[in-house]
Symmetry: D2
Subunit: 327 residues, 4 copies
């Protein structure tokens, strides 16, 4: 157990870098359809932010040979929390290294999860300052909602595939001070865990990789804040040729509204409506879903998450790639 | 073609009678979950109306050995339209008979579709008059929205299964003056048609019965008017043990929002959110969907209508009955 | 009373022409914010259509010295209906004249309402044919929903101010075959009437002009089909500097969801969410709202329609123009 | 400034006790309209909870001579946090006293705000355990959503009126470790502050009492989680005779969706749709709204908060009581 006073060490998911073999398609997806602002372009990378993302970028799109997550970075709740988390990671032999020089962020501590995902922790950020024409009259809004596509507000969470869920979950609990709010077990095997150190249902989730691979990404989620916008987004994706994997519907696990699509580079992206269940109880007991309850867990409505993709496809992809993703 | 001046002969679907082998379950479904008012109980039948249904009842639930539609009745747009429609039916050898004495309605002309569904036409109705405590401050509302369950406003439309779609469609066009707004073809075979004689996308639809049966019901639809209520309904059905077949999502055909469930007697019921596309053009050309377009036609979002039930299950049921219906 | 067989003579509102002293602002409003497509530009006029408008244009924006409606045109339900309506107008001494040559429409019969509004009737239209890149996969949709702003689907209805409501209402009933679904009376004076000849609550409404002027426009309404989009639109208008007069809320009269704003030229525009109450009963009795019921009639939620503008401001404007309109 | 490690000391608002001179009306409001479950009845008090409230009750309704808040209790994030907060309160001369014996809660520390509101802190709670028939299939849900009225999920936040905002705000910051996310200033005077120690925009707000009174309640808010439900609630309140003060609309301050009504006892109740802006940045800078920005701050849509009630009416009421409250 994390010591009582170290329960809120991770503030939120700050940024993710995705690789894409189809950068034009991927950028069209995030900029033209999801209305993200471009804040910088350098080399093979473009930096993007949603209109309520508070920093210079929440998504970096980099050209690469295959779709995958390069890394994801969590912001700690204080500089001291960052120091404590690094000390804990080191005690756990999850050693890492400092990096620096990324646009819009200060020094960043990089480490690998037990399954091999590249993660990072950081405190230092450069707050985004909107130029006058992009300033919103809504003072908590970092910039005006753009008039392009169906704009997402901000990045929301990360969902990782892992060969084994439990070691990743335990390292996030022990070293990052996260709490597992919900989990799924299939007999003796833990097949999913949803974690945060705030009252969000999750900043990070881990699910069992049915292909048995290591270190893959299931999805990155972006936030609308309004469930209707996931319905609007489905209509947009349908007409503009983006394959819809599942949704819009609402998960029983986390009670959040979802829509899953594949961006043109091949990464799975979730559009997240409202935040679902907010974990206000400080001593909320982890809910454990068993296989006989899993229908409600996966969807409250009639959605069947498609077995041929949802539980097996991740990035980097493993052959054969399902047709729907290539569409 | 119907003559120009006889284009609006059918005003709307007025009422449906369903049989159920589980009357307690079926009444709990319509009264406790869908908030319908009971207006009369007689013999093995209970008469129900939604809070915006204008007449004494829109749904009659009758105990019977198997789930099925007993009959459905359309109201004409005038007494003269009723006479004209009957004359046309007789010319087409779709002869029928007058009946009378049903609670809340006057004389009614009963006939069979070419596939054997029992249909009726009527003009005479008894308008529902709410007692003072049920009168709504909203003057177009026939009664207050009740505080029970998630109340439907009114009946909306009927969807019939037929061994062959075309003859049924053609008789509705020729004799009832309906217009087919959208249809589906699979090669040479017409597999679905959506018809009305108003600007609604459909009062009646006909779909091909994949089991090759005659005269069965696919579903009766009730209207919420708000898409969110189909989402709310899905959550209610999930927690109260009503099997959800598909949705909530939006059809491409008709652009309407849908949720399909099986009431405890076994009849499929659709909860209909907003009305979708309103056919304002008086010379709207029938849209024909082909199999390569059918994914968008069936759902704009990610729903896959389940082949094991959606295209094969109707009432009266044919063995084997899918497990989901029995649940 | 209109004869029974002539009840559906007017199909819908096809087009409106607005004058604006600020054409750049007005076009930015309709194109950049409301996502209307431009289909032609000629002289001082620009022709626009929503993505589900079926013809070449539903809105013509013309530069002029003051904000006003130039004219509005209703499409009849058949060519014969057009002839009948003209004959009736002539019998009623509401004579008019044929015009021709307007882009996208054929010959058009122009006449004045008893209060002096310029109206027109027409049958001949040129259907809009989307080029391949604008074709929607949703076959009932005339073109793809654009990725610009918060796109309206189509034009919806017209609301006219009149020195006296009753003569205008009666001429629409008698000569156009419209039916008044709801009306408001203040003692002996009829102050509002909502009419259509379809099951829409209204294609045209008339309200008493509290300034006593003749022939003015209260508002033109554009249709979203989804109530949430009126909420989204309010947020957009707020941040992009468009003055909001009232809403989003829902009227008791018509049960429709509304948002009223002033476009930069000064005309009041309504954004219309869902269609509200659909008048399915063919013998629906006109509902009459009295002053003691008017709070519910004007808004079901907490909106107070602002007396300083809503009941007095119309276009062309009469001095003094309220500050909110000029903002 | 609160020390870094003591930033999350208050978990959430656990419960409020309201007095009402009209207990039958007040209970009808909360039970029949808002679908709250009754968990106990004792003496002049009834204990209620929303279906997602995790403890035995979140609202206690007590008969009393006038509408007012008896007290409100915040739950700390740990037993140690409770000790630390009490120590801090004592250092600040905001001494209080332990009480015990309240149904469903353990020992509770009661104290007064500098303005005289009775507040309490507690850690010990009895978790609500649903009997089998009320258990939800959604595991994070403490009980099934009932079929009565339009059920609220849970209590959300508290809004206090104070003669002077600043001393109350500062005591909450200093002694409870809360952070002020947004505030309003009118020249030199602070007129409102929204605070929490989580990522919610606020657990408690304080607004200036325009009547200059001390220790009054502005409103208690209950949470729907879905903005549409505030619209549905407005319709319900309208037809069932509950006076609507303002909304549904969205505040610029906090970006939350709101609806304000007066329960039959006279207390103002807010129905809260989605949570609005979630304060993910751990170093979020307080936003300060000035009077020239206040229109957007109070409502993003067209709502004008009514000056004759919103800024002057609180409970206990001061004569003259506005007519709308008595309605």
């Amino acid at each position: 157990m994390t010591e009582e006073r170290y329960r809120h060490e991770i503030a939120h998911l700050a940024r993710v870098e995705l690789h894409t073999p189809n950068p034009d398609g991927t950028l069209w997806f995030f900029k033209d359809l999801l209305g993200m602002y471009e804040t910088k372009r350098e080399g093979q990378s473009v930096y993007l932010r949603g209109y309520e993302d508070p920093y210079q970028w929440s998504l970096k799109v980099t050209e690469g040979p295959e779709a995958r997550m390069d890394h994801a970075a969590l912001r700690t709740s204080s500089p001291e929390a960052l120091e404590r988390r690094i000390a804990s990671l080191r005690e756990g032999n999850l050693d890492g290294a400092w990096s620096d020089g990324e646009f819009g962020y200060g020094k960043t501590y990089e480490f690998d999860t037990p399954d091999g995902h590249k993660m990072a922790l950081l405190w230092e950020v450069e707050k985004y300052q909107a130029p006058p024409q992009l300033q919103s009259k809504i003072l908590s809004r970092a910039s005006k909602k753009p008039l392009q596509g169906l704009p997402v507000k901000r990045i929301d969470h990360l969902n990782l595939l892992a060969r084994e869920v439990t070691p990743v979950k335990e390292s996030f609990e022990r070293h990052l001070g996260m709490k597992t709010h919900e989990r799924v077990v299939d007999g003796d095997i833990e097949t999913g865990a949803w974690m945060s150190s705030s009252l969000l249902s999750h900043d990070v989730a881990v699910m069992r990789d049915a292909r048995g691979a290591r270190g893959r990404l299931h999805h990155v989620a972006f936030y609308y804040g309004v469930q209707q916008h996931t319905i609007d987004a489905a209509e947009m994706f349908r007409d503009y040729g983006i394959p819809i994997e599942a949704g819009p519907d609402r998960h029983g696990i986390t009670q959040s509204s979802f829509l899953y699509v594949f961006e043109p580079g091949g990464n799975r992206i979730e559009l997240f409506g409202d935040p679902g269940f907010l974990v206000l109880e400080p001593d909320f007991e982890t809910r454990t879903w068993t296989m006989d309850q899993i229908d409600t867990g996966t969807a409250i409505g009639g959605t069947n998450l498609p077995a041929e993709t949802y539980f097996t496809y991740g990035t980097p992809p493993i052959e054969p790639i399902p047709d729907i993703v290539r569409r």
